[in-house]
Structures are given as C-alpha cells and as structure tokens.
Assembly symmetry: C2
Homo-oligomer: 379 residues x 2
C-alpha cells in the first residue's frame, strides 16, 4: 500500500496524545501522512502536528469506535485504551496495530507473566492472586498490581506482612526479587508482512527513589555474547505475541548472566528515545513503518548515546521552567526534547535529553554533567 | 532569554510556509516553542505543526506588519517578503533575523555582487545593467535578472546577441562564465550574541537541464586545505553582512583552485538538508538557535551523506504519487522527506532523500540507485 500513503487521502489514527504520540508525528509530518490523534485534552503534546485532533476519552468504547471508523490504520501510544472498541474495529476491517489480542495479553501483568510461562520465555518466578493476602512466599518479594501500573506506580517491595496492609483490593502478582546486575531493554520491530529486526541492547539506570529510568545507555556495556542472546530473546517474545509494531522488551541480567524478561510495551518506549539522535532509523519512524507495513529501516547506531529523562523536581508544581537549559544547549552533542506539558509536578516526565559522543563512557560522563545542570522547576 | 522560550508564552514568527518553514517546525515542536507561520495558502507544507497559521501575503506591507506585531522574534524561510514592513517592525522593537538591511543587500543580485566587490570577497567578474543590451563583454556570458530569480529561473547563458532578445526589460547583471571544477557551499551559523560556526563544505551536482541541484554531497570530495579556505571565506561573507541566522554561501572552485562566491541565502538551504540525518545539529535547529540567540550546536558530521532532490517528473502535472518510494524505504540509511505539496508539476521541488553510509563514495553510489528507483509522477 506504500505509495498511496504519502500526500494522499490515507489516514493513520493514534490513540493517545502524549509525548510518544507527539514524537510519532515527526515521522508523519516528514512523510506527509495524514494523522488523526485522539486524547482527552487539547493541551496534549500531540495536539500540534496532528492533521485532525479529536478531544475524546481513549478509554470510552463509543469514542474510540467513532474515532477508529475515520481512519485506515489505527495505532496507540499508550496501552490504556478501550480494547473492546479495538476488537470491534478489527471486525469492521480497520487495521489495528497492536491488535486487541496482544493488548489484552499485555496490559494485565498476571496475563503477561502467565503468557511467558506458557511460551517458555524466562521470567522471574511469580504467583497470581485475586487480591493481596499472606502466602508462603518468603520475604522480600515484589507486589505488582495486575492492571493500571505505570512508571513505578502499582509496584512495591514487600518486606514483611505489614507491607501488605495498605495495598489496593485488586488482582496482583507476587514476584521473586531478582538479584540483577543490570536492567536491559531490546526494541523489536515487526511489520505486518512479518519482517523483523531488533535495535541494539540498551542499559537502564533507574532513579533510586522515583523508580523511573534516569539514564538509558546505547549500547549497553555488556559483552557481545550476552547482547546477542538478549536480541534473540526479544525476537522470541515478539514472535510469541505475533505482534505488529514496536515491542520494547525489558529484561534483567542476573548475577549469573541469565536473562529474564521483566515486562514489555507494544509501542515506542522510553528506552528507545536515544534513537532519534543515536540510530539511523529512530523508533518512532520504525513504529510508523511497522504499522503501515512499510519496509523496516536500519537499526544501526550512528553514535553512542545516553538518554536522560527530564522529570519534575520535587517541591515544584505549576508552570514549568527549564532551569539551565541554555547551559546544556551549549554542550556539543546534547539535544533536549521538551514534551510540551505546561505544568510540572514532582517526577512528572516533562522531556528528555540525548547526549551523543564518540564513545559510551564519554557520553555517560556528559550525561551526568547535563543532569547536574538542568532542573525542571516551576516559575 | 533562553529559559523563557520553552513551553512558555514566547512566540516565534516565520514568514513563508514552504518546506523550509516546515522543517524549522521540527525543532520548535521538539522544544515546544510557540510558532506562528504566515503564508498565502493554508495548503502550505508548514500549515500542520505551526501553533497558529495566518493566511496572508508575505509580500504585503500591512499583512506582514500585522503578523509581525504578534510575535517576539521574526524570521523568514524565503527572501521574497515585504522588507519595508520588516524595517518598520525592527523600529517597533521586534527582533527580526535576518535583518531588513541584510535582506535588502541580498535579494537583489546586482546589489549582492556589488557588496562582494566592496568587501573584497572574490566573485566572478560582472557588470550591472538597468536593462539587457549589447555591451562589449565577450560571449558567452551569464545573464541574471537582479530580482525574482529562483531555482534556475532568471538565469540564462548568452552565446550571441540574439540570446538577448527575449529577456525581460528589467535590471540585471552580466557575469563571466566561470570554468569551474566544482560548485561548493558552506553554511555559516551566527547567533545574535555573535557566536559563529560553519558546517563542513558540501559539493553540489546540478541537473544539466533543470539547473537545479541534483545531488549534494557532504563532505565535499576536496582536499582539506581547500575545505579550510572555503569555510574561512564563508565566515568572511557572514561577517561582512553582520548577519544573524544561517547564511548559505555558494561558491565555485575554479580550475586553478580559486574560490569565488556565487550567491548567498540568509536561511536554511537546500545544500544543508543532508544535515537532518548527517550532522549532530541539523541546519533547521541551528537556524532556530541563531535567531533565538541560543548557543550554537555542533556542526560535526555523524555520517557521510548525499541528498537527492525529488522534483516532479516531466510530463506529469496533478495529484502526486511517489512511485518506487517503498523500494527506497527498503534500502539501509535512506530517508525520504515528502514536503506535502499535493500537486506535482515538472521540476517542482516535492521532497528530498538523504542517503547516509560509512563513506561518501558508497553514499553517492546508493544515491544514484535511489534516483533510478523513485519517480515523482501524477496519479
């Protein structure tokens, strides 16, 4: 269908207008592909740059149905959408990627973990519970809410019975705490024709308090053999799901060099933001290629890169100011991305910065300097 | 002023909504800078992605004045704007880059050439005429209309008296035909604080019939010493103009290795399109940095690149189809840019393709393959 997509009547739809949707629009603008975006708020980052913006609730069955009927291909930038509406749209002939089937398998962590077990995909030992209660699992372990978790919400370390007390009364999993050396991620791209490719393995460093990714390094500082295994494991996961689009596969590398799949996201992912500056084809373009069934682009690295999340500083709520941004703009190879959220609050994802350099250690050092200079505060 | 530009009430204005304006918007979206665009037609490529779009004639004094009064900083993406209005806006305190003074010096070729002479900037020998007539200049030479020339229009080789007959009755220059080895270009960036930098020298290959650039190669295949001289000459030109923004300086390299300035453009330029994929900081971001007086970004090359213009094929007028685009999307390191003009006509600039590779000769070979595969036709 490729040659009819460009400067034509063809319409791509995106559910969700956050930063991931916004960055997808860089590609649809570059290729002049008409793109419809739906989000609850017209202050959403992806308002500008969309061809048509629909104000609507992506969790609402009727709203998603009405929106989806106006586009030729429908994708998402966030998993929390009305999947029943997607199922109906698929029946009506709209190409939906990721499919309602994959979304149903992924957005519930209990289902997701059970799926790995069934497909012999290595993952941390776990049990599924209807609601939190005392089991014979030995402390400490991790409690995870089955649905609705995001950016560290819905996750808690359980060190004793008492930690179970104030948990929400809903489906959850308990998972063994893994003694891991590193957290890694691999993004797999697969188009509707079945072509597949993987991006290089990235390494994630988490902020100890906020449980959000603080640095993403590409390439990860691991040996080639482990990198190869990680990419193969990610391909295996994408195969199992029969997924079309990007699939970001997060993994633990244990002290014994074992790889365990932690969780996946069926869309562009924070761990792939570095690719805008660091890869031949950035992840947002690659996702668009996948869902439009275009040939996949090269995932080769052009320069080693580190990505730093810009999150709202503690103690600041209100109109955002990027303190120190001029200083980091003066540093070679440093590119800030500002998502366009007018209001900051503690730990809110407001943007990110990519740092490219000749080698990864140099980029990592620069990233720490960047982090020290820029602060997301309120005016 | 830097930290008040992002996600704030600050407003950048762009006169002209063509592809250059559109590509500037990639940066203002990335940084969430409110950007107002004015163009005659709301089908302009820069309609989508602008914060506010004004339908208006950029050659009209009142329209430009009204538009300019609503922004904090005003720039252009094409030289043919109402410069008197810009002068008035400058008096009223709007930061205008490029300045009305520079635009007046540049947009008339007679004035531009005379300026080089005064500043001892090497350029091809020429004479200025009120209107075309026979002089004692020996044939062949080049006739150039003083104003209104663009993309090879307003330029003609004069081989005999007869060639003068059907020229328009307006100011022009006659210029010696230069026996050149290569056409080169250097883009200079200068911000309001006076920081300056140059991009690497690029080499331009022209289409023999259309007199439009067919390939741009970065880096140019010239020796380091000539590259150094070319960058210094470009800096000299930017200094002479005291210009803020990008200045693209086109040059001839003669058979005797002399560099002669041909013409300049005070804005992002076709010869810098490769930088989106090929440079750490692309020319559009750099122009935005300049006019907003932000620190300049690195102009380093990340990968050797060749840019191919996508122009409308002869014999095709009407709704555009990019025949073969899927085939080139399947090639590693090949990125098409579609400007978003719905209608094609012969030689109309409809887009461009960037090809990156490990070395420039490899990229150049791939570029020829790309050129053979993709055709801009009508449906």
């Amino acid at each position: 269908m490729g040659q009819t997509l460009f400067s034509s009547d063809f319409r791509l739809g995106i559910l969700g207008g956050g930063q991931l949707g916004k960055m997808m629009l860089y590609t649809t603008r570059k290729w002049d592909i008409q793109t419809y975006v739906m989000d609850k708020h017209d202050t959403a980052p992806a308002f500008e740059g969309s061809t048509v913006f629909f104000e609507g609730d992506i969790m609402d069955y009727e709203a998603v149905l009405e929106f989806g009927r106006q586009v030729d291909v429908l994708t998402i930038e966030i998993e929390n959408v009305n999947v029943d509406a997607l199922e109906q749209l698929e029946k009506e002939g709209v190409a939906v990627s990721p499919s309602s089937k994959v979304l149903n398998l992924i957005r519930n962590k209990a289902t997701q973990k059970t799926f790995y077990q069934e497909y012999n995909i290595p993952t941390a030992p776990f049990e599924v519970l209807e609601t939190p209660k005392v089991t014979d699992r030995s402390f400490p372990y991790i409690w995870k809410s089955a649905e609705g978790g995001y950016d560290g919400k819905g996750v808690k370390v359980i060190r004793s019975k008492d930690d179970l007390n104030d948990l929400p009364d809903q489906e959850c999993i308990y998972e063994d705490m893994i003694d891991f050396k590193l957290e890694l991620a691999v993004i797999v791209a697969r188009n509707a024709s079945g072509d597949m490719t993987t991006y290089p393995v990235v390494e994630m460093e988490f902020h100890p308090e906020a449980n959000q990714v603080e640095y993403v390094l590409c390439p990860a500082r691991i040996d080639d053999n482990i990198a190869k295994q990680a990419r193969e494991l990610a391909l295996q996961v994408s195969h199992a799901y029969n997924h079309v689009g990007l699939l970001a596969v997060e993994m633990f590398l244990t002290q014994n060099n074992q790889l365990l799949v932690n969780e996946v996201a069926p869309r562009p992912h924070n761990s792939g933001h570095y690719s805008i500056e660091g890869a031949v084809t950035d992840q947002f373009e690659q996702h668009v290629r996948c869902v439009l069934d275009l040939p996949l682009g090269s995932t080769d690295t052009v320069l080693p890169a580190v990505m730093v999340n810009l999150v709202g500083a503690e103690g600041h709520t209100g109109n955002v100011v990027y303190d120190g941004i001029n200083e980091i703009l003066a540093m070679d190879g440093v590119t800030p991305h500002i998502y366009g959220k007018k209001e900051t609050r503690p730990f809110r994802k407001m943007g990110h910065v990519t740092i490219v350099a000749d080698d990864i250690e140099k980029a990592r050092k620069l990233a720490e300097i960047v982090k020290g200079k820029i602060k997301v505060v309120s005016s």
